[in-house]
């Protein structure tokens, strides 16, 4: 099934819902890192800048993830 997954990915057939969840997970890790580094909450735009994505798109991803805390549970099996 790893084979099929890779093919789907390469073919651009990954579902947007999954891609948004992955982005939300990365954003969560990034937020923790920046918080530690700067001693304050980073803004959504700062996290987006760090991840190289559009702020609005990150906003959508953050919603797809539900509560940010629930991202403690890893999305990757």
């Amino acid at each position: 099934s790893g084979e099929i997954k890779r093919f789907l990915r390469d073919d651009g057939m990954i579902k947007v819902s999954r891609s948004l969840k992955e982005l939300a997970y990365k954003a969560y890790l990034c937020q923790e890192r920046l918080q530690e580094k700067w001693g304050r909450d980073p803004t959504v735009a700062e996290i987006a800048g760090e991840l190289g994505v559009e702020t609005e798109e990150l906003t959508q991803a953050l919603d797809a993830s539900g509560e940010i805390e629930s991202l403690h549970k890893p999305i990757y099996q």
Partner: protein, 151 residues
């Protein structure tokens, strides 16, 4: 940065549109440079108001919900409107734990959440005409010190 930016969103009162409404408002407010937490506060308030319009205002019939949003300076102004059932006694409705639908496991805390997560809340309603919820939130309060530092 003091210019105003406005948008209006009209959508079907389906519960599946709740997250769509939330994302739209969240995407609209990005120019105010909010933190994840500030966005999440606004999303919670939008969810509660939209859920109320769907469940109480339209009682699950499909009609239009209107959201008007404006940013001015560092403040987000929001209005969420339905043309549904309306509220008899607004003051009572806004009391914590008050609900007219206990059978649906409603907590009666919707208005209390909106009040807690936003800077201001105003509810206008007329029975048989509908309900408009007005909210405001200023973004970056208490961040001023370091903002000045980092610029």
């Amino acid at each position: 940065m003091e210019h105003t930016n406005e948008m209006q969103l009209i959508f079907d009162s389906r519960s599946s549109n709740e997250s769509f409404a939330r994302v739209t408002v969240a995407a609209f407010m990005t120019s105010l440079n909010p933190t994840v937490e500030e966005v999440s506060d606004v999303k919670t308030a939008v969810s509660e108001a939209v859920t109320n319009a769907i469940i109480h205002g339209y009682e699950n019939e499909i009609h239009n919900i209107h959201i008007r949003a404006r940013t001015e300076g560092r403040t987000l102004y929001l209005e969420i409107e339905d043309e549904g059932k309306g509220i008899e006694d607004v003051k009572q409705a806004m009391e914590p734990l008050f609900t007219t639908k206990p059978e649906l496991d409603r907590s009666g805390m919707g208005f209390s959440f909106m009040e807690a997560f936003m800077d201001s809340l105003e509810v206008m309603s007329a029975p048989g005409k509908g309900t408009t919820v007005k909210m405001e939130k200023t973004i970056g309060k208490g961040r001023r010190l370091w903002t000045t530092q980092s610029l």
